[in-house]
């Protein structure tokens, strides 16, 4: 279970402090799939980073009683100057995984071929997403945090993600943020809308979607 209690996140900006998350509390149970909708800049990625533990809340606590992945996004988590293989090595080391076994899976899944020996900064967004996704599938987590990873890559990649994540790992918890509302509808059981620092929860997609649409078109 992941439990967020009274989480505030404030970013200092040139024009004063900006409250991105304003007193947010929720729990995510094992196996539960939560989809979060929100406008650009609503704080969705911030929420995911806080849940992952990569970033600390300004106040409040987030406790993790299950293993939680890093935010699976197409940016971040990689060192651009290192090759794809070196990044696999790095991540294998910090998560105590056997590197050799992982390489085969990553090569097979990403189909990156010789590009795996090139620096990640030369990769396209789709290639990065493939690498990020493949590496995160090596390490088994109880909860996966997915930040717009479905927004990039081709149809073949989406099919593979579908199989790895939603078929083979259908019993895991997931926190999914996406602008693709259909993707959220198809994969989540619970929904939330993030707006102006507040979060609202819905058990029906249609209600969450209506609220989200209302926010989107409000000036």
């Amino acid at each position: 279970m992941i439990k967020a209690e009274n989480v505030f996140k404030v970013y200092p900006t040139r024009s004063g402090d900006r409250v991105v998350l304003n007193d947010i509390s929720f729990t995510l149970e094992r196996g539960e799939k939560l989809g979060v909708l929100g406008r650009n800049g609503a704080g969705k990625s911030t929420l995911v980073r806080l849940v992952s533990g990569a970033e600390q809340p300004t106040s409040g606590t987030i406790s993790r009683a299950m293993s939680v992945s890093w935010p699976l996004a197409f940016g971040g988590a990689f060192q651009g100057a290192l090759t794809g293989l070196d990044n696999v090595r790095f991540i294998s080391r910090i998560y105590k995984q056997e590197y050799e076994r992982n390489i085969d899976f990553v090569a097979e899944f990403t189909q990156l071929g010789l590009y795996l020996k090139e620096p990640v900064k030369t990769y396209s967004q789709g290639m990065r997403a493939r690498l990020a996704f493949a590496i995160s599938m090596i390490i088994e987590f109880d909860c996966y945090l997915i930040d717009e990873i479905s927004a990039v890559g081709d149809a073949r990649f989406h099919e593979k993600c579908e199989i790895e994540l939603f078929q083979k790992r259908h019993d895991r918890a997931m926190l999914i943020i996406s602008h693709d509302t259909e993707y959220v509808r198809n994969h989540c059981s619970h929904f939330a809308v993030l707006h102006d620092g507040d979060i609202c929860f819905y058990s029906s997609f249609d209600e969450a979607h209506a609220h989200h649409m209302d926010n989107l078109h409000r000036q």
Partner: protein, 252 residues
């Protein structure tokens, strides 16, 4: 232990991004400081640099310049160390302190290997006598390393808050070099100046290394409690600053 794994992974990543797999690769880690020290040794030998003692110039340059590399390179590598690693901080086990520790281990290791290799080589070809008291050399070296590491971590953490640190470190380290005891021995200074010179913490470390190396040939001056006091103070400040910036880091 998680932190050990993370530091090892970061260390390997540093080696790869800094030295790559071209030509001699990671050997540059200590070949570079060796080239520096050798260059300075040659320069000082040719200019018959007056250092105010009867010590052979090779021995003088080796002990002095190696010490400078030890305390000067660590801060240089820790200032601005977080930014290029922000993407890796997506992994919650990767903390600011691990990034600093990995870089410190690498820098201290490089300077130490360079010092030891050159010492052994100079002793082998007969330019240098073996140290009179190895333990004293090691003690002085470790104190200098501690001082450099604590200063590096402190400056590295504060540099996340203010870019002024980076601007000031270059001139400051340049000015501190002649004051650090690398290019003179305290005994050669006027008695009145000796007392003030020992206020520079590095001087005690370098003098201790030289005492270990040359024994009775030199009359060394040092104040170990003063240097240790600096080390402890800087370490506490550094840890406090690192903990503070850790809370504010936003991964890329």
């Amino acid at each position: 232990m998680i932190q050990g794994r993370v530091i090892y992974a970061l260390l390997m990543r540093e080696v790869l991004t800094r030295y790559g797999r071209h030509n001699i690769g990671f050997l540059w880690l200590f070949v570079e400081p060796m080239l520096f020290t050798t260059g300075v040794t040659i320069l000082w030998t040719l200019s018959k640099s007056a250092h105010g003692s009867s010590l052979p110039i090779v021995a003088f340059a080796l002990t002095g310049y190696s010490s400078v590399l030890l305390w000067r390179n660590m801060p240089a590598r820790c200032i601005g160390a977080i930014e290029p690693n922000l993407a890796l901080m997506y992994h919650r086990n990767v903390k600011a302190i691990d990034i600093f520790l990995a870089r410190l281990l690498l820098e201290a290791g490089g300077a130490t290997i360079s010092f030891v290799t050159l010492s052994v080589f100079y002793i082998y070809v007969g330019w240098l006598e073996p140290p009179e008291d190895l333990l004293t050399v090691v003690g002085g070296w470790l104190l200098l390393a501690w001082f450099g590491a604590a200063m590096a971590m402190f400056l590295g953490a504060v540099s996340e808050k203010s870019e002024l640190i980076e601007r000031f470190w270059h001139p400051a380290s340049y000015i501190m070099f002649p004051l650090s005891g690398a290019a003179f021995i305290v005994d050669a200074l006027p008695t009145a100046a000796q007392k003030f010179m020992l206020y520079v913490p590095m001087v005690s470390g370098v003098e201790l290394v030289r005492e270990g190396y040359f024994g009775d040939q030199v009359n060394s001056h040092y104040d170990i409690p003063y240097l240790v006091g600096w080390c402890i103070g800087l370490t506490l400040l550094a840890l406090a600053q690192v903990a503070m910036i850790g809370r504010g880091i936003t991964p890329e």
